[in-house]
């Protein structure tokens, strides 16, 4: 390696040196000085909310009907019950808050859909009517947030009829929304909840450079994505670099068929979006200050034609949409940061990011999080250098790391993934504690999705998304025994009702474990 690298390195060095000011610029713009100071002090940079607070200039003449997040559709299972009716107090358990505390024993009080109290000991005397759960020997954590899921858009069973993952008709489909592909009867959703997951970021696939907007789903069984959308969650955009888009379009003999083709396509798209944004701004300005024409009438300037894709990209550049960028290799992430720097937008998180450990200092300096697996690797070239210490090294460097699944199987055992990454990090000498590992599952992915002000830690005032585990959640043997969302018990192991999914009606029997149920009658073989 050394000979080739030695010739390449000085050149690379010069390039990165030259780029450094450009790369640093967006940080200053978005965070401002207090943000930088906080970063330097090792504190969390300002939350997502601050990026949403910018005054929106008119981009369209009409409100976006899909920007609203209030639940409208009915719930099939608890049709009349939309809020937590009964307060719940879990006592005598080991409570891990993901905010640094471990109460042993501790309590969590859930009331009105929120965490009303958490702390050491038995907690306050429960108000009358409170359901008290004896948590002896149990562990309590915040609900797991899976920041990268394709449940609903690539559901089980895998069928032609329900494969709605990738809109592979153009490499840039920024105008589409995963929520319009989401099939709420996906049988994987209930199994994820049984694994302690309460919120998922559902993203379009990675076949396109810009796959479209994702949707944050709160895992309550409802009849449509609109009703399942996490209240107040920001807009998120799925982008992809590296192998997938160039393979998909290269095979169609279309652009991009190379990484350089991919970067060009992105730069052209954002250049168009910049002009689009500018057109709307000038229209708005002219509308506000109409120009009198020669004959004395006012200029009846027509608004520009609305373009859903360019609108999305314009909102990205304005900081109103969080960028969730699928990238594996270090060099691809560096190139992506260059594009982001050129157009002045921030990358919220690199997803998969298997080589993040190689450039963790750069990612930390840019305030970019990673969402990744614990130890998947090798299925393609860009995944060949994945190592199990990735999450740990990113955390050690002061970065924000989250565990994701990208798989309906892995999504059921995310707690094990964090446990394995914790063990791998410790074996490599990284100083980590269980709070760090828990944050990989809850607080950090919540930040990746821009909902960390609502969930991710057990703190008074947050949504009561809570999991009661049979034992230490970082044990192979741990099972989620109870899962609460907004304070309502939505999964209770050993009390299986009808399946959530209409598809599974009449198919599945889930008696409690063990003992095993009576097995099928011995049928006569034909």
């Amino acid at each position: 390696m050394s000979n080739r690298l030695r010739t390449v390195l000085p050149a690379l060095h010069a390039v990165f040196r030259a780029l450094l000011p450009a790369l640093a610029a967006p940080i200053v713009l978005v965070l401002g000085l207090p943000g930088l100071a906080a970063l330097a002090a090792g504190c969390d940079p300002p939350r997502a909310g601050s990026t949403h607070a910018r005054a929106p200039a008119a981009l369209t003449t009409e409100p976006d009907p899909f920007a609203a997040t209030e639940s409208r559709a009915r719930m099939p299972i608890e049709a009349e019950e939309t809020r937590q009716a009964t307060a719940v107090l879990v006592q005598h358990a080991t409570v891990m808050t993901a905010a640094g505390q471990r109460y042993e024993p501790g309590y969590v009080l859930m009331s009105g859909g929120e965490i009303a109290g958490v702390g050491e000991g038995d907690g306050p005397a429960p108000p009358p009517g409170t359901l008290v759960v004896d948590g002896h020997g149990k562990f309590v954590t915040p609900g797991i947030v899976d920041p990268h899921s394709h449940m609903g858009v690539s559901p089980v069973p895998q069928t032609l009829g329900h494969d709605d993952l990738n809109e592979l008709t153009d490499p840039i489909t920024a105008g589409i929304r995963a929520e319009h592909s989401f099939w709420p009867e996906d049988a994987a959703l209930e199994r994820a909840v049984a694994g302690g997951v309460t919120t998922i970021g559902v993203l379009p696939g990675s076949g396109n450079l810009i796959g479209g907007r994702g949707v944050v789903i709160h895992l309550l069984p409802r009849l449509g994505a609109r009703a399942m959308r996490f209240p107040g969650s920001p807009e998120i955009l799925k982008m992809a670099c590296g192998e997938n888009p160039k393979r998909v379009y290269g095979e169609k003999s279309r652009a991009p068929s190379t990484r350089m083709g991919s970067v060009r396509a992105l730069r052209e798209a954002f250049t168009k979006a910049r002009k689009y944004s500018h057109d709307w701004e000038s229209w708005a300005a002219r509308k506000q200050h109409p120009v009198k024409t020669a004959n004395g009438s006012t200029d009846e300037a027509k608004p520009p034609d609305r373009d859903l894709a360019l609108e999305t990209l314009a909102l990205v550049m304005r900081g109103d949409i969080l960028v969730e960028w699928h990238c594996y290799q270090a060099d691809d992430m560096l190139a992506a940061l260059e594009v982001a720097g050129e157009f002045g937008f921030k990358v919220r998180a690199f997803h998969h990011a298997l080589e993040a450990y190689k450039i963790r200092d750069v990612l930390v300096a840019h305030g970019v999080a990673i969402a990744t697996w614990d130890d998947w690797w090798g299925f393609k070239m860009e995944a060949y250098d994945g190592i199990p210490e990735n999450l740990a090294l990113m955390t050690e460097a002061g970065g924000r790391a989250a565990v994701h699944s990208d798989s309906a199987v892995a999504g059921q055992i995310l707690n094990q993934a964090a446990g394995k990454a914790l063990a791998a990090g410790r074996a490599a000498g990284v100083k980590l504690d269980e709070n760090d590992a828990l944050r990989w599952l809850t607080a950090n992915p919540a930040w990746v999705l821009g909902i960390d002000d609502q969930v991710g830690t057990l703190q008074a005032g947050k949504r009561a998304d809570v999991v009661v585990w049979s034992e230490d959640p970082f044990s192979t043997y741990a099972r989620a025994e109870q899962v609460y969302i907004d304070g309502r018990l939505i999964f209770d192991r050993g009390h299986f009702g009808a399946p959530w999914s209409d598809f599974e009606l009449g198919v599945r029997a889930m008696p409690p474990l063990p003992p095993p149920p009576p097995l099928s009658p011995a049928g006569a073989t034909p």
Binding site: R191, D361, F379
Partner: protein, 445 residues
Amino acid sequence: MRARTRLRSVSFAAIASFAAIASRAAVVAAFLLVSVAACPTARAEEAAPIAIAHALVYGPGTRLPLVDATVVLAAGKIVSVGSSASMPPGAIVVDAHGKSITAGFIDADTDVGAVEVAMESGSNDTDARGLLLPALRMVDGYNPRSALIPIARSGGVTSVVVAPRAGALAGQSAFVDLAGDTQAEAVVRASLAQYARADEAEAQEVGTRGVLWMTLRQALDDARFYSTHKAQYDANATRTLGLRRMNLEALLPVLRGEQPLVVTVHRASDIETALRFGAEYKLKLVLRGASEAWLMADEIARAHVPVIIDPLEDLPEAFDRLRSRSDNAALLSAAGVSVVLSTFSSHEARLLWQRAGNAVRLGMDHDAAIRAVTEAPADAFGLKGYGRLEAGAVGNVVVWSGDPLQIGTRVEHVFVRGREQPLETRQTLLLNRYRTLPFGHDGTR
């Protein structure tokens, strides 16, 4: 042994600290020195028995592990398993107090050695093209220098079945130990078992389930006919047979019941058909995949057919596994079926312990789960001396820092045929290179 282990860890520490200050070339040189220096010692030690002492030992046929037990290895084999009092004289003692010992794990269905990077077809020897390929032998493509092998080994897997993947009759698997630089060293059985695919996906390849079973029957019928008409066949005096000679020959050990036929099926009714097919041709059957096997547990147990499953497969992924459930392994095991757990993977073979741990989480006995990755695969494929910690068995032994199926437990020593194996992998080398960042905040090195 202890001295050598300590020496090695010191050397690694030294390398790590060098890395911060020395050039890459110096590190590489240091590495070479260490490995060269270690070789003669290793050879010299082969004569002396190795006693791994004071451990929790998951022994043969016991429901509970033996406490404070010792495993003695010599000449590539396990010499004894028993009380720590009976230490052989002259043995190199490895103190495994607080550790546990198992037979090396066997992943019964992998692509290890057949693929480096799954999506790079040049490095992927699993995508055979053809429908009836019984003469295909995975051993011919097996690469003992694959980067995946040390990684699988670092997860406590000492042997794998390298299985063919494509075709209604997919070919013959190989059984290999995960050590040795040549096929000659690594391969234990060049032809272990024959494979048939009879699931929904394969039925789609030929049209329908009916056509698929008809095709399989036709192949076995032709092979059976061929076995009694070899002379006429060679004289070109038989009816036309659907398979070439080498393919017909390859099916003979299957028809004689000597070689297992591993059938991939999922739907309960497909399992019924497979069992009927096995009885019809008097085959030694193994079921693979078998998502809905729990619905047929009694029938499978009665037929003494082992089942290879992935305990994490609980999703109704396709219409032939709508009744998948997470406790498939537990239910089958409780019904007396011989359950073999596998990752069905290449890069994830190192996580076999986690699959077994999940089977326990989902209701299987801990002891049964360990047997499902040691004894059970050995028994399913008739691999005498494998998968057991007992005198006379092959010296494939793993020392774990704790419960082998628990997160956080580390693999501390791996012995293959009595020889300790390095735990260095391509991934540990990457970790060492990037453990401290030798470059600035702009991505330059």
